[in-house]
Symmetry: C2
Subunit: 815 residues, 2 copies
């Protein structure tokens, strides 16, 4: 007989890993469920035994109403195991000796003596789910059972947890956190005693607040009405609540020492009686667990098709999609779990559905900044703020999250220059706000121009028709070619003409500005090499200044002072700007590293020169994305206006800010409301986003959460350029065959492939991306550039794994 089996996950690729592998593949070819307890002593093991007995009956035709004692004696007791089962998770009283009665009954990990898990973990120095043990057990199971049907179909794997949902595991986190990565549906054994409603409800929400699905709550009911109350409070639909008779009296009281909870050879009469009376309930539960599993796999399997019918994806050609749709089941830290219908299974030797962990190397459009631990911290801050405030209008009003975040931003990116924080919803709206700020500020510096435009402080004269059509001035921005500032029409006006703003997308685009072609820098065969933009060359003839060096030994040299080259660039820029008459000096360049243009690293000396050449300076920078608090910090420049979005909330919800100097703010003061900045969004400064941002900001610099905190802060203190991927690694990559150039800074490394058809529409990178995908890396193309983006918190081991995957993919593609 094989009653049930535990879920066995393929082990981490990193041997010796002490925590549950977050890069484990999770098979879906059989049902699995995780048994949680609302508390200790609520009957988890009893429920596991009952469910095991139901599996046994279903497999053997064992009648539910007879000889329950026999069934129970093989699968009941402290440990809900049959002879072919094994346990993944720690137990207070697991008995390793018991497993010797069958060579396949393994307790994979147990703490001894039977004390609270956090103490045992501290003393034992052992982790759960050790990779080597898992692998050996898997091999044993195969040797015994042969291949095929045993791990397929109606087979039910059962993982029993230790203690309550929040009992800490060896990582120091509640086990409900540790097990998040596995996406097991949960069966919560509730507390049926007095006070049990509260305990059950709190445990249920604890699991839900970690993303666990909890389709079942089972209560051995001692206090009448408990299950009914729980059912009414957890709400309809998602969770079934099953009431069982009160549990039998415990056969022996647990003692503090040793093996007091060992499985007795036979079970007592009260337990056998309870198992017999609950037999039909467990039979039904087993059926529903299996049905729920089938439904889950069915939902996953049909999601791609349903999405293709209902969604309109951004930046996606629905008529010519070559890639299959990625169905994402969950995120855990930096990884997504994606459904795969037919995954090759090396250990089992056949194919089956699974959840594939994918490193999110596009950081979900560059938004992600947190590891799993930080995500938990941010989530709890968000939940508390959302519960306390919901949303509150923010105009002439204030709430603590918006206030604290504004003050924090004025302290860090705004230090020494910014006076005010204006909230909006995303980078694109933050840019629109910055534009309006720049317009007015520029006009306030040029009273003649303001008069020509009809801009006078105070209310509009009564009865006068609005004269705002075609004001007799033209203001434009100074931008960089291949820049990107968002897709609202105002932000689109700030970039040079391209297929992205052509008449296919909008017939209103005019390109209101002057767009300079900046010099960029990338590693070519190990050397940082300059590609001068065409606008830079203009200076040479005019000023006679020496042109910049063509090569640099290191990022540090590149970001060094370089005054002479800066003067050269400035002359070049002024040559171009002389052509402008009334241009506003706004610079909406996302400086240093241009993303959508293919991760172009713009010469920092040029950026500094551009800022110096402009009166009004707007600098758009990314939070910690470049290994520095902001790009302005790295360039040692002080902007007038700055926009932050994406990483601002750590990657949870949209929120953006536009920071401005006192001069900019004062330009909007006046006797009339019409003098104010009449721009606002409904969810301005929403507490959820502000709380996320505050928590995320703390996490970035918290060394107990962010393993890179010290390195980042050291680099920030010197405004030194830092690559989390390692400058040497980038240099090495640039020597690989088929690689034209390598660029990157902070969290980004980008490899430009040597191909004939460059540009966004190019599909050159697809082969490399497919190979990365097979290695559990989810990357997205930028034309013939392949980039990987980690978070500011990515640990060294993950970086190494990713670089290895990239190197192998590049080599294989050119082999």
């Amino acid at each position: 007989m094989s009653f049930f089996r535990i879920a066995i996950w393929r082990a981490s690729r990193r041997p010796g890993s002490r925590s549950l592998a977050t890069d484990a593949h999770i098979p879906l070819s059989y049902a699995a469920i995780c048994v949680w307890g609302a508390n200790t002593g609520v009957g988890k093991t009893l429920v596991s035994a009952g469910l095991a007995a139901a599996v046994a009956r279903a497999e053997t035709g064992f009648p539910a109403d007879s000889d329950a004692r026999t069934v129970a004696s093989t699968c009941g007791g402290d440990l809900a195991v049959g002879p072919h089962a094994a346990r993944l998770l720690p137990s207070g009283g697991g008995n390793p000796a018991y497993s010797s009665s069958s060579r396949l009954a393994k307790t994979l990990f147990a703490w001894r003596p039977a004390v609270s898990p956090h103490l045992a973990a501290a003393g034992a120095g052992e982790g759960v789910a050790d990779a080597a043990v898992l692998r050996a057990t898997l091999a044993e199971l195969h040797a015994y059972e042969g291949r095929g049907p045993y791990l397929r179909g109606d087979c039910l794997a059962l993982v029993e947890t230790a203690g309550g949902v929040g009992s800490p595991g060896p990582e120091g986190l509640p086990q409900a956190d540790t097990l998040r990565a596995l996406r097991l549906p949960g069966l919560l054994v509730g507390d049926g005693r007095l006070g049990g409603i509260s305990a059950t409800l709190a445990a249920y929400e604890f699991l839900r607040a970690r993303g666990h699905e909890v389709p079942f709550i089972v209560l051995a009911e001692q206090e009448p009405g408990t299950s009914a109350a729980v059912a009414s409070l957890v709400g309809r639909g998602a969770t079934q609540v099953l009431s069982l008779p009160p549990p039998p009296a415990a056969p022996t009281a647990p003692s503090a020492a040793g093996d007091a909870l060992l499985v007795p050879a036979t079970i007592d009469a009260a337990l056998a009686d309870w198992l017999q009376r609950t037999g039909s309930a467990f039979d039904q539960l087993r059926g529903e667990v299996l049905a729920q599993h089938r439904q889950r796999v069915e939902d996953l399997a049909t999601s791609a098709q349903r999405a293709q019918r209902a969604l309109w994806w951004p930046f996606y050609q629905h008529a010519a999609a070559r890639q299959p749709v990625t169905v994402v089941e969950a995120r855990h830290g930096e990884r997504l779990l994606a459904f795969r219908a037919e995954a090759p299974d090396a250990e089992l030797g056949d194919e089956g559905a699974e959840l594939q962990p994918l490193y999110d190397a596009c950081a979900s459009w560059w938004t992600q900044g947190l590891n799993a631990r930080a995500q938990g911290a941010v989530l709890r801050a968000v939940t508390a703020a959302a519960a306390r405030y919901g949303h509150v209008i923010l105009s002439g009003t204030v709430h603590t999250p918006a206030l604290q975040l504004a003050e924090a931003l004025l302290r860090l990116p705004g230090h020494d220059w910014a006076a005010r924080v204006f909230y909006s919803d995303n980078g694109s709206t933050a840019v629109e706000v910055a534009l309006k700020m720049a317009f007015r500020t520029y006009l306030s510096r040029k009273p003649d121009l303001a008069a020509r435009a009809g801009v006078v402080k105070g209310d509009a004269p009564a009865g006068e028709a609005h004269s705002n059509l075609s004001p007799s001035i033209e203001l434009g921005v100074i931008g960089l070619t291949e820049a990107y500032h968002g897709d609202t029409l105002g932000a689109m006006e700030c970039v040079a003409p391209s297929p992205y703003n052509g008449p296919k997308q909008t017939v209103w685009y005019r390109g209101r500005g002057v767009f300079l072609d900046p010099p960029t820098v990338a590693l070519e065969k190990g050397v940082w090499t300059l590609s001068p933009g065409k606008d830079a060359r203009a200076a040479e003839s005019k000023e006679g200044l020496p042109s910049p060096a063509g090569a640099f030994g290191s990022l540090a040299e590149l970001f060094g002072p370089r005054e002479v080259e800066q003067a050269y660039y400035r002359a070049a820029i002024e040559t171009r700007l002389d052509a402008l008459l009334d241009g506003a000096g706004l610079v909406p360049g996302r400086p240093v590293l241009q993303g959508s243009g293919g991760m172009r690293l713009i010469d920092p000396a040029y950026q500094r020169a551009l800022v110096a050449a402009c009166q009004a300076r707007g600098v758009f920078t990314g939070f910690w994305r470049l290994g520095s608090p902001t790009a302005a910090h790295l360039l040692k420049i002080s902007p007038d206006i700055a926009c932050y979005a994406k990483l601002l909330t750590g990657g949870l919800v949209p929120l953006a800010v536009t920071l401005a100097t006192a001069e900019v703010f004062d330009a909007f003061k006046g006797p009339s409301k019409l003098d104010a900045l009449l721009h606002g969004h409904s969810y301005t400064g929403h507490p959820t986003g502000c709380a996320a941002a505050l928590a995320a900001l703390r996490c970035y610099t918290d060394a107990t959460i962010n393993p890179n905190a010290r390195a980042l802060q050291a680099a920030a203190a010197e405004a030194a350029p830092l690559s989390l991927w390692g400058e040497n690694t980038m240099r090495e990559l640039s020597h690989l065959p088929g690689v034209k150039r390598v660029s990157g800074l902070g969290t980004v490394v980008a490899v430009e492939l040597e191909v004939p058809d460059a540009g966004y529409a190019s599909n050159a990178a697809e082969g490399v991306l497919a190979r990365l995908r097979a290695r559990d890396v989810f990357a997205r193309p930028l034309g013939n550039t392949v980039y990987l983006m980690c978070t500011p918190m990515t640990d060294e081991a993950t970086i190494q794994d990713l670089i290895n995957a990239l190197r192998e993919a590049l080599l294989a593609e050119t082999a």
Copy 2:
């Protein structure tokens, strides 16, 4: 001696209210704390007694190390009360007899027999915090103590809860939900037994997930290491964890029946000993509770000033602010709790700081759609989704919340017409997306125009310069005067010239369209009266059609078929449109009720005529805001493109959708990625917002949550106009002196005041708004229009309260 007092909240204005008054004012002139239990039997009463003893010592100079037995005997036992204390909250074993020993020792409410609160509540048919009992107790306390110092300063009020944090109260909700409205800081008595880490942590998060601050956790530690583990898991900073010695053995075991938990006349030696040993710890705790209270009031008192230094508010003239800043401490359902430094206190006869409950009658810029119960349901759905998914890129990928929401939207507002859902972040970006969709769709219908614009499917020819500057066509929108579609520059182009888009705000605005002046309807002295727009009159001379009736008996008549009038309007509209050559037929009018223009109710026959007159129709409507699923539904028209935002998430986080027909979607199909809609936001379809929207959509139609669900659905079934304020009520308001016109539909009622200086900049409404504020209603002005906005879930009693407040304010202002 007066050891401590319970917090006494002024009772609800609605006598007989059975639930805790959500409109209660909350005094801040003395410290209050709520004592929660991680479970039953963890020692809540013990901790309350210890804290009470500390207060006694501080007030009397009683030494901490002597005669603890005496202190304990006066304040210990089952009920932590001294002779002058009273209890607000239910207890399983409260003893009403005990209170007869002093005429001021009141148990305000107790359940008998001592069973689980939910059962007692079901049997007793009684609610907590009955208004009359509270009022009587307050009077008694005053009679005994006199006024002044007793409820001021270092006085500590203590509210002990019953059972665990999730134990249900009489409303059927966990008491942690019921007590949310009071914003009491929490002291959680943790579980110091084996398994207590998990139980304490889960209870802590349960409270935090309801917006409770929990500055203190106190554990009577039986299992060593528990408090240290709890301290490490709740994180640093916000919460102090205090460890106490194991509790004394319980004097008597509770029995299931009767009054077994009654306070003994004297306490036993073990308890006295425990209280003595913990004396200094409780002395310190008392000090920290008081310090925490002072800090809280200090933070609230300085927030306005800090906000004025750091924030840049939207639509706010910082130089000429007349209104004090509103500091919002929390939201509970439809009410905000705002700090008031000097509130007149009718009962106490003096002034002190308080939290004032304010009905959010601007629905925080029209975003709010949920009552307190629905907010809880949405919050839990959001927490689960945020924990499971964080954010996941949505392009060629899919996750369940985005998929399910898209399918739900195609079923409800999209039924019969929409084929696709495009996600963005707010209404303004949804309009920008709609604009781009309309441009392309229009060009796909006009191949000649497309050819002139250079729009050809496929990749851009290699090597050809981008020719997207000044395409030789001009497309504009057809809009309505005084419309508003958002503040991004593209959305601003879709409205007529006004001070909001003049050169003070942007020098780029051109007003790309034709803007019609629609006829509007409002109640004047009880009659729905038409104000024909100037564009409507044009038809008369041209077509000879009879002009529309000038008056209507009811909303139902107004929204009736009216074919003849519709034909008249259509002729009028076509007269204007004839002037247009290449105008795109997009109608970005927020139809039916125009908000920012002063809540103008546009003649529905005109709206229908306008849609009929246009080929490409874009209709922008609000979810349930108008008492109908959407405005399109109410007008019985089928749009090509529709935008939804604001209420979409119920009012928690920004999220917007643009729905489109298959024709619109197909216009973006092509062989090249460049043919696709190249518009996207980083947080496209973020799971948090999608989960909120899904949960909110369910709540709107759930009769167990929304008291108006049936009325709304009945009206929707017939596409009948519905006012939650009552058409008769609106009619009555229109007869009041000083009222020019009254308008409204669904959740909105708007009163236009009779004043000389109409328009947005007018301050005419300020007097009325100030009077509303004094009646706990937070409304915002729209020029000389005062409007109240409820949610689709607002109950009848609240509507009546609000109407009474409005009527009184209007009468008082003109008196």
